[in-house]
Symmetry: C2
Subunit: 302 residues, 2 copies
């Protein structure tokens, strides 16, 4: 993969510049061979391609897990999507994504909860028991109230989730997304919500991109024991061309992924590992080429 | 001020897009007239201009505080800088910046501590009792070790700081800077360091841009009581053209600045309020125009 495109404003005035220096990883690239059976392709990594194209590429690469996104499911059709995935022998590690709870009016909030119910039903139809929740931006609401709307929204979904056998996985996003994508911004905050809701149907998904900076990450991963429903890998590359679409493949950036993975395993999670790399340069490549790169980066740097 | 320049990659694939919606402020723009006597111009806001130019603009605008940066002091000369500021009747709210502690070798770390000693002496010469610490990126070190180097570096400076009557103000930066600017990324983490070091010469500076996202901000501001050495204002604007140089003036973004200011005041801080807006579009304007805009934004939206 080529280097991410450079940001428009790389050069900084001399006085504001800081000598470069990303963190060095503490752990060797691979201390023991990673189990390929845990690798799951998150469909955002192959965003330009259809579900059928991405599924075919996974099957060819010997990848057994897949994590579809709802807009792709909608484009292909739910029943057809389920059929394609089954034909390729792919299991669904999670469905991306529910959430988006905050809204200024009661009606709009109710509509969003209703949409989450549809997402739960879709997850069940795809035979996955995990729905990833990107909890949503403040959407014109004060930050504290928006956070309460998230918690209330998840609480409202629990009976429906239980009924369908689908677990709700809160994905804390990086704090840089607090204004425009998610008011849930740390694993500690997500753990607090899980603890308050006290339901086996509510837990977290841990994405290294969103949590690697956290000085209390080890403590919060340990605290998440028993409610870790997913684990996502990718990498943090600086300078950052774009906050959303310039993530790196594992090994291209500074995140000590093996260290975080081992902490997540020590906390009892041994399920699928989703590779979710939203990257415009990567998306220029062919679907099979992307999947091969994903597989190599997974084997070497996760 | 014109809208910040658009990022190169604004458009996202439809499925990844999120309905826009920044948080609404909870507090009215100004509940009571803000005291202009507390306003301080942080020199980064007028980055293209010399210390003499910025000081003159402050004096003309009736601003009584100024926060110079070391590269500007170096360009003008320390004694001459002190003379200029005194001639204009400007008091120095803080000197920006010390810090930058992590480095892979013992010699380099020692050199950085030595540079911080020079910064302390400069602060004293400028008759300010606050040195802002931007603690530095990992600089090739593992993240945990880099964080320890910060704490060790600050500890090493305490006797010298005390001797010069200069307080060391840790500025936690936004977590998006963990790889390339500061391994200290939350007020809670900074408070923990202050607590462990247990010296009246070590505290924090709170910059709304860096901390507004924190779900535990109120708690940590309250915990910082007695060791808040400074308060910086600006605003968070999305979409973000650049992580460093597209900050907004107060009122242009989504941060509930009055709410945070009141929490900081409730925790006992009533000192200068520095306006620190690093923004390439703003920097295109004349120095006096910038300072007028700063003053207006301060009066209306802080």
């Amino acid at each position: 993969m080529t280097a991410p495109s450079q940001p428009q404003h790389t050069a900084q005035p001399a006085g504001l510049a800081i000598p470069a220096g990303m963190p060095r990883r503490q752990t060797p690239a691979t201390r023991r061979p990673l189990d390929l059976n845990r690798l799951s392709l998150n469909q955002a990594t192959t965003e330009p391609y259809t579900l059928a194209e991405a599924a075919a590429a996974c099957a060819q690469a010997g990848i057994g897990w897949f994590a579809p996104w709802r807009h792709k499911i909608a484009a292909t059709g739910l029943a057809e999507s389920a059929r394609i995935l089954k034909n390729y022998g792919l299991r669904v590690s999670s469905l991306c994504r529910g959430g988006m709870f905050p809204a200024p009016t009661r009606d709009e909030r109710a509509a969003r909860i209703e949409d989450n119910r549809r997402a739960i039903a879709e997850a069940a139809a795809l035979e996955t028991d995990v729905l990833v929740l990107v909890c949503g931006p403040p959407n014109g609401c004060p930050l504290d109230e928006a956070r309460q709307m998230v918690e209330d929204g998840i609480a409202a979904l629990i009976p429906y989730a239980e009924q369908h056998g689908v677990r709700l996985a809160i994905e804390p996003l990086h704090p840089m997304f607090a204004a425009d994508r998610s008011v849930i911004v740390s694993l500690g905050q997500a753990n607090d919500i899980v603890q308050r809701l006290g339901s086996p149907w509510v837990g977290v998904v841990i994405d290294v991109y969103h949590v690697w900076w956290d000085p209390y990450l080890d403590r919060e991963i340990a605290r998440a024991r028993g409610h870790i429903f997913g684990f996502h890998v990718n990498d943090w590359v600086v300078p950052m061309a774009d906050t959303v679409t310039s993530r790196g493949l594992m090994g291209e950036g500074c995140i000590d992924i093996p260290r975080i993975r081992e902490a997540v395993e020590a906390a009892g999670y041994h399920g699928p590992i989703e590779v979710e790399v939203m990257n415009r340069d990567l998306w220029q490549k062919g679907c099979r080429e992307i999947v091969e790169m994903v597989k190599n980066a997974y084997m070497l740097h996760t």
